[in-house]
């Protein structure tokens, strides 16, 4: 074990190369619906329990199943209303279990990236061959179901190994959503190839809003709007990325979807907002800013490992 991950350089939020998003946009905004499948009776991982109660955890499982039966369709309708395409964090086994949900995103030209096979199978304890197997499975499963070669990764239930980032770069992934050190993308230090950290969010993830901070639906919507206001204003200095990560078993509940609708309306009603997908942000960043940022990071050499 090591005392730090050695994955990114220190890079203070001051005097950075100015990022301007396409058409002069001050902020890149993306929405990440987590389309997931949780198993009723998954095998045990030695480091983490799948369910708090003995299997079958009827409330835990039923709550997640609400997403695919009800919440997803409600959430997608609201996103359609404001022309927001999803960048899907996908439990790839959903392609087999409930193809309707996956195809509803394909029909809307949504982006798909991998969130593991199931959200009840964790990476903790995997050897390299096993981690390669879930990466290769993800690439193939999504390619077969959607025609897309996945470019991004959010580890299943955010469970990692020390090899994860190097493997992603080896398999030509463009970005990882697993690092939360910044509001702008940043090159990730990998053994070979290139990878960037794509700002996702724990803090305004609906899971944190409702499960960790116990916010009311309107308080959560207010947090989304304040987050947007601040990053939008800071975009005068340099453009940031704002992501709203969603789980439709939470945001798609009938008491929450209305306030979320209001927040999405507010955000998308502004000028100079680039409403886009994670892959498009990554492509633009590699083309215009990756090298400049890599150069800028050298100013702080010696301040991180």
């Amino acid at each position: 074990m090591d005392s730090e991950p050695h994955l990114y350089d220190f890079w203070p939020y001051r005097d950075r190369p100015k990022i301007t998003w396409p058409n002069g946009a001050k902020i890149a905004f993306w929405v990440a619906p987590n389309l997931e499948y949780y198993e009723l009776d998954p095998p045990a991982n030695p480091s983490r329990k799948s369910w708090p109660k003995p299997h079958p955890d009827v409330v835990g499982y039923g709550h997640r199943d609400y997403a695919n039966r009800v919440g997803h369709w409600r959430m997608m309708e609201v996103m359609d209303k404001y022309n927001v395409r999803g960048s899907v964090s996908l439990s790839v086994a959903l392609c087999q279990h409930i193809p309707d949900v996956v195809q509803s995103g394909v029909a809307r030209d949504w982006e798909f990236f991998s969130h593991g096979i199931y959200n009840t199978r964790y990476s903790y304890g995997m050897d390299e061959a096993q981690e390669r197997a879930i990466i290769e499975d993800s690439i193939k499963t999504v390619q077969d179901a959607t025609g897309q070669r996945i470019k991004g990764w959010l580890a299943p239930a955010l469970t990692h190994t020390v090899r994860t980032m190097d493997l992603l770069a080896q398999y030509d992934f463009r970005y990882t959503c697993d690092l939360f050190q910044d509001d702008q993308p940043q090159p990730v230090k990998v053994k070979s190839g290139k990878l960037i950290s794509m700002p996702y969010s724990l803090e305004i993830n609906d899971h944190y809003g409702f499960f960790v901070y116990n916010m009311s639906p309107r308080a959560y919507a207010d947090a989304l709007m304040r987050q947007f206001d601040r990053l939008y204003a800071e975009g005068e200095t340099s453009g940031a990325v704002m992501c709203i990560p969603l789980h439709s078993y939470l945001i798609g509940q009938p008491h929450r979807i209305g306030p979320f609708d209001e927040a999405l309306k507010y955000i998308t009603s502004h000028d100079d907002v680039w409403v886009t997908t994670a892959a498009e942000i990554a492509d633009y960043y590699y083309e215009h800013y990756y090298d400049a940022v890599a150069q800028d990071l050298k100013r702080y050499q010696g301040e991180s490992a």
């Binding site: 198993e39 955890d57 039923g62 709550h63 039966r69 087999q96 995997m126 096993q130 116990n214």
Partner: protein
């Protein structure tokens, strides 16, 4: 370090669910369920009447609201009893005032100990469904089938002995099950369960002992979740339920299919003096909405064509 190779095997990875209890179904596309008289939103109000023995069972988990302090936990025992004798009677008065027909999930021990409560509930026009024996009557993966069968039979028999009729519905303590619960409920003639929280409408389940309906009662909208777990105010609770009702009414309008709003009410939570006004205001508002149908679980299941 590596994981057992079986950790990367996925025996249920194929189209549909990873169990046989119900098939996948998209609420927006399935055949529409419609309610009587053109109503759009069925309102299921589900008070819990719970008896917490002073000695708490805590394996494999403790029921929500159970005893906390070293024995004897008089403060929690009597606080829960407050709900039963005071809070619940505030509920009954409010239901009468606003024309609410409730579906009361009652521990059999409540009926056996306090038959007046069962009598007053029936007199109010409400339905009584089984809510296990008492708050130690847990159902969970790993319990023996014989023990669970006895628990279900005891609860149903004891309730029927007081109320004179066999409960049609079942709500488990903490809404938890074993892998055999659905089969055992159907085996005992239970017609619907309120424990699955995966839908905003009732649907059919498959069991080894014949049909059973799921009548999902949303745990996220319970008074415990919003007021106690999330520590929000009674006013915020009312606002959230109104937001939910308005969204569901609009969805019913747009889709032409009925929807359902389910409210779990806990007498020692929502029945407190400083919260009951907010609840009464909410019930007043709900009952005044065009399109809201206050109905019992049995009425809803029947209207959905599931019994």
């Amino acid at each position: 370090m590596s994981l057992n190779p079986s950790y990367l095997e996925y025996p249920h990875r194929s189209e549909g669910m990873d169990h046989a209890w119900y098939p996948y179904s998209n609420i927006m596309e399935r055949p529409a369920i419609t309610w009587p008289d053109g109503k759009k939103l069925a309102l299921l109000v589900q008070p819990l009447l719970e008896y917490f023995p002073l000695e708490a069972v805590d394996k494999p988990f403790k029921a929500p609201g159970h005893m906390v302090t070293p024995y004897p936990d008089l403060r929690h025992y009597s606080s829960r009893e407050y709900g039963t004798r005071v809070g619940y009677y505030r509920f009954l008065d409010a239901f009468a005032k606003h024309g609410i027909k409730a579906t009361v999930a009652m521990n059999a021990a409540i009926a056996s100990r306090y038959p007046s409560i069962a009598k007053d509930t029936i007199a109010g026009g409400h339905e009584i469904i089984a809510h296990s024996t008492d708050m130690n009557g847990l159902q969970y993966g790993g319990m023996s089938e014989d023990d669970e069968r006895a628990l279900i039979a005891d609860a149903l028999t004891d309730l029927e002995a007081v109320t004179g009729s066999k409960p049609a519905g079942w709500r488990s303590v903490a809404q938890t099950h074993s892998f055999g619960t659905l089969d055992l409920l159907a085996e005992h003639g239970v017609r619907y369960t309120c424990d699955w929280v995966n839908d905003d409408l009732p649907y059919a389940m498959n069991t080894k002992s014949g049909p059973l309906a799921a009548l999902p009662v949303n745990h996220e909208l319970s008074d415990r979740q919003i007021l106690v777990v999330c520590q929000q105010s009674a006013e915020s609770y009312v606002e959230q339920i109104k937001d939910a009702a308005l969204w569901l009414l609009e969805e019913a309008d747009k889709t032409g299919a009925g929807r359902m709003l389910t409210l779990t009410l806990t007498p020692y939570i929502a029945g407190l003096p400083y919260r009951i006004d907010a609840l009464e205001g909410l019930l007043d508002w709900l009952s005044a909405q065009d399109g809201v149908w206050s109905a019992t679980g049995s009425e809803i299941v029947k209207a959905a064509g599931l019994s």
